[in-house]
Symmetry: C2
């Protein structure tokens, strides 16, 4: 029997992952014997969605992750796999440096120490981000980012995620846990309400018009981004939990494959899916800080390690929209 913890378990990605885990059959943790899921603990400062909160195998633990761990709460009791998704998002971390240091860096440090204290060599899947990459005057971003491109984060969020990767690798090297860091692209189309991520508009400009509502686009139409659908994101996280150590291939982070699209590509696909009226609901309101952050992230990815693991990008943005419509209607 397998125990799983998801930090950020009430969030969009965490609750999606939880539903997939509950619906799936036995889980082969790190390529081992498949075993049924005994207990799924969802840790979040927000309430867990009702369908999950009412599930017999789900335990909801509400509170700030760092506070819970600092207070010695046994949030990890019996966990064989910990998915660490809880984080303050990019826009929040730029606006409130202390929040990012606390929610991303300090909470991750405490979580890794708590995983080590279990003494059971748990699998820890860590959601990192393409925001670890970036270009600066002394080191421009290459046109295509590969597995061994030098990270050069240009946001506090990216720095904190990259530090988490380093800590996870060292805890793994020391034999305290089995860390699997996964660099996620911007997830689009993200359902629900807007959040404070600088990349949030990459969902909003599709989600809002499909609901007949206006949406703001803060960057130019030729801005390119690397995106992945929610299904590809959770597939990457599950692959990290279930791959054997040999297949996973090392302690460094695996960059997930991503679809490269421009805003113009996305809006053309929106128009094909929902007509010109939907497209006309975009308001172009430039935001230099959002544009700076988004431009600092890579748009083109060559994800060789992920490809060897059988992970692929979405084929095109039309299919991403169709997936969103199928799942939300």
């Amino acid at each position: 029997m397998t125990g799983i913890v998801i930090t950020g378990g009430a969030g969009f990605l965490g609750s999606r992952l939880a539903r997939e885990l509950l619906a799936a059959g036995p889980l082969a943790v790190a390529g081992g014997e498949p075993r049924p899921l005994r207990r799924l603990a969802l840790v979040d400062q927000a309430p867990v969605p009702p369908d999950l909160a009412g599930h017999e195998r789900v335990t909801a633990i509400e509170g700030d992750l760092g506070d819970l761990l600092a207070a010695g709460a046994e949030v990890l009791a019996g966990a064989d796999v910990i998915f660490h998704l809880a984080a303050a998002v990019s826009g929040e971390c730029e606006a409130d440096f202390d929040l990012g240091m606390r929610a991303n860096l300090r909470a991750t440090e405490l979580l890794l120490a708590a995983c080590r204290a279990l003494g059971t060599d748990p699998v820890v899947v860590y959601s990192s981000s393409l925001a670890v990459f970036g270009g600066s005057g002394d080191h421009p971003l290459p046109d295509v980012v590969e597995d061994h491109t030098l990270p050069n984060p240009q946001s506090s969020y990216g720095v904190q995620k990259f530090i988490g990767e380093q800590l996870l690798a060292d805890y793994t090297r020391k034999g305290f846990l089995r860390g699997r860091a996964v660099r996620l692209p911007t997830v689009s189309v993200r359902p629900g309400r807007p959040n404070a991520a600088a990349s949030g508009f990459l969902s909003g400009i599709i989600r809002e018009p499909l609901a007949g509502q206006r949406a703001v686009c803060p960057v130019g139409a030729q801005t390119a981004a690397a995106i992945g659908s929610p299904a590809r994101a959770t597939a990457g996280l599950l692959c990290a939990a279930t791959s054997s150590a040999q297949a996973w291939g090392g302690r460094s982070a695996v960059t997930l494959p991503a679809l490269t699209v421009t805003v113009a590509d996305m809006l053309a696909a929106l128009e094909r899916a929902a007509g010109p009226a939907a497209r006309s609901l975009i308001d172009w309101v430039p935001d230099p800080e959002v544009a700076r952050l988004v431009a600092s992230w890579p748009a083109r990815i060559r994800a060789d390690r992920a490809a060897r693991l059988g992970l692929a990008p979405d084929p095109d943005f039309g299919s991403v929209i169709r997936q969103y419509l199928a799942e939300t209607r």
Copy 2:
């Protein structure tokens, strides 16, 4: 008038730097107007050497850096430049993971927060290390390490130093301080007593025979290392404090130039300086853990940014030995 703090100020490198600062004329902090040194605070858990402790411009602050900062001690009062040299060394951090996390990671986090709290945009010179580089199965170490080689630390010490670089860069980007990270090679010949650094033997095999004492060499004679003399190390730290932002050239760390030598080269130079009797004082006692750590570090460096700053490696190991003899006799 300039105020300077050196953490690790009682250590070999810190006290050497302190003496150089006291002997020098006015200091041009970050390329600004040269101003005389008003106060030099040396923070260390060990007592400061008597010549420094008795100096009228020196203030010795004895205690654990992390404890002092956590207790809110005003160790940085009036500081325009902070040299952060205090650290647990590589061998200690491998033997005692918690010590390294506390002394290197947590203390650095607290120090940067305290520098930010000054509100005066101080210059913070951070001593990083070639130990940030390394080779692993998923990413071998290149033959020659350059400024933009991907760090891939294979020791907790290296991980902690690399995380410090990342934090320093983000504090700098945010305008909280002016960070200058310097990656030091193994410093040899280090005077004084042996320490717990895995690289310690690279001083010991010269220092002990020159004093007529036996020394253990834990690696093979063909093991190569990148080394720098004490004078080159302090020159790099002073360059970091006095370069203009433009000359320094970015927020990423500057790798110092280093001399590539094998153990055999070093012992040949020892014999030229002190005769075959000195060389015969080496006991070859292999230590696999030391050999692993040393082999994980780069031996060949191409330090383009440092060269543009006017920094050069030692010309040969004979000159390093002559420097040591001139300074210690």
